[in-house]
């Protein structure tokens, strides 16, 4: 086989600054996931209260206590995820992660600072997020404050090899997989 002659073209963007679409999709997934978990938790608490006291509890959006708990939960969700491994659930799905501006792993202090500064990017009609589009390193306002950047963390080369593997002999592989599942 002539496997030793052609050099492979680099296809991975690993380590490059992540763009707006990946980051927005990751954020959308995170909001959906964190809100879903919060709603489930409220439903669970309501159920337990109704079982124990026999009174039905309903949570209103206008309830200031619920709003405060929700903001605290969001802060904990993002802050803890960034501090623990530099990425939230949505970021892991989209293959991006937060690192320090020099590329070092983000530490808890910077993760918490980023989570605190995150709401500031929403001010002035979300103008703080414009940096993701126009700033040279795609840094939003909260990135500039916390000294962080968001980079691609997934290995596109591995994905390409998986794609080639599926394309190479799709019929044979699928038949083999189906045979394994039956046995």
């Amino acid at each position: 086989m002539s496997a030793a002659t052609r050099t492979t073209r680099p296809v991975t963007s690993q380590g490059h600054y992540a763009g707006s679409v990946s980051r927005f999709l990751a954020y959308a997934i995170d909001i959906a996931a964190s809100s879903g978990v919060f709603a489930l938790a409220l439903a669970g608490i309501s159920y337990v209260v109704s079982v124990v006291t026999g009174r039905h509890v309903s949570w209103s959006k206008e309830n200031i206590l619920v709003a405060i708990i929700f903001v605290a939960w969001e802060f904990a969700y993002f802050g803890y995820s960034w501090a623990a491994n530099g990425k939230t659930f949505g970021m892991a799905a989209l293959g991006v992660r937060v690192v320090r501006a020099d590329g070092a792993t983000v530490d808890p202090r910077h993760a918490v600072l980023r989570a605190l500064a995150f709401p500031l990017s929403f001010l002035l009609f979300g103008l703080g997020f414009a940096g993701i589009l126009v700033q040279r390193e795609h840094r939003a306002l909260h990135d500039l404050i916390a000294g962080t950047v968001v980079v691609y963390a997934w290995d596109a080369r591995a994905a390409r090899l998986r794609f080639l593997a599926r394309e190479a002999e799709p019929g044979a592989i699928r038949a083999q997989l189906a045979g394994d599942e039956r046995s």
């Binding site: 086989m1 002539s2 496997a3 030793a4 002659t5 052609r6 050099t7 492979t8 963007s13 690993q14 380590g15 490059h16 600054y17 992540a18 763009g19 707006s20 679409v21 990946s22 999709l25 530099g86 799905a93 989209l94 293959g95 992660r97 690192v99 320090r100 501006a101 020099d102 590329g103 070092a104 792993t105 589009l133 126009v134 040279r136 390193e137 795609h138 950047v149 980079v151 691609y152 963390a153 997934w154 290995d155 596109a156 080369r157 591995a158 994905a159 390409r160 090899l161 998986r162 794609f163 080639l164 593997a165 599926r166 394309e167 190479a168 002999e169 044979a172 592989i173 083999q176 997989l177």
Partner: protein
């Protein structure tokens, strides 16, 4: 019956030869020989044509030969990273069972969907970035990523 004189002459000749050989400084003699010129006069190809390589190999004990090879030292001289860099992984995956192994070990609808979604997102990122750079009339190329990550290539 051997002539006694002939036997005597034989012994004398052998003795004289022994004395001459022992008196000779063979190393000094070899130093005076131009080995390169000597080798240059030898017709190597003709010599090799007369060698029965198959018979020679049959007589060679390859296992014993391999036992005498220091494999660790040999491997130490091989630049494995350079070797791996020269491997065309795309062609390896397409033409061998490695593709099937990869598909079996990492296959699945979820992985496939995730790969596709990420690829689409990266493509859209690059598309938007190109238009923004064009709109901002930036001449200089923007940095691709933190130097520590790009140089290491290992990723975070």
């Amino acid at each position: 019956m051997t002539d006694p004189f002939e036997a005597l002459a034989q012994r004398v000749a052998e003795r004289v030869l022994d004395l001459i050989v022992s008196a000779l400084d063979v190393d000094a003699l070899l130093d005076r020989v131009d080995v390169n010129a000597l080798v240059g006069r030898v017709e190597i190809n003709a010599l090799l044509d007369r060698v029965d390589v198959s018979a020679l190999l049959e007589r060679a004990d390859v296992n014993e030969l391999l036992d005498r090879v220091d494999v660790a030292a040999l491997l130490g001289r091989v630049d494995v990273n350079d070797l791996v860099r020269r491997v065309d992984m795309d062609s390896l995956v397409e033409q061998t069972d490695v593709g099937a192994l990869i598909a079996r070990s990492s296959g699945g609808a979820a992985t496939e969907a995730l790969d596709a979604a990420r690829s689409q997102a990266v493509g859209l990122d690059q598309f938007i970035d190109r238009w923004v750079q064009r709109g901002l009339r930036r001449k200089q190329a923007t940095p691709a990523g933190p130097p520590a990550l790009l140089n290491g290539r290992a990723g975070p």
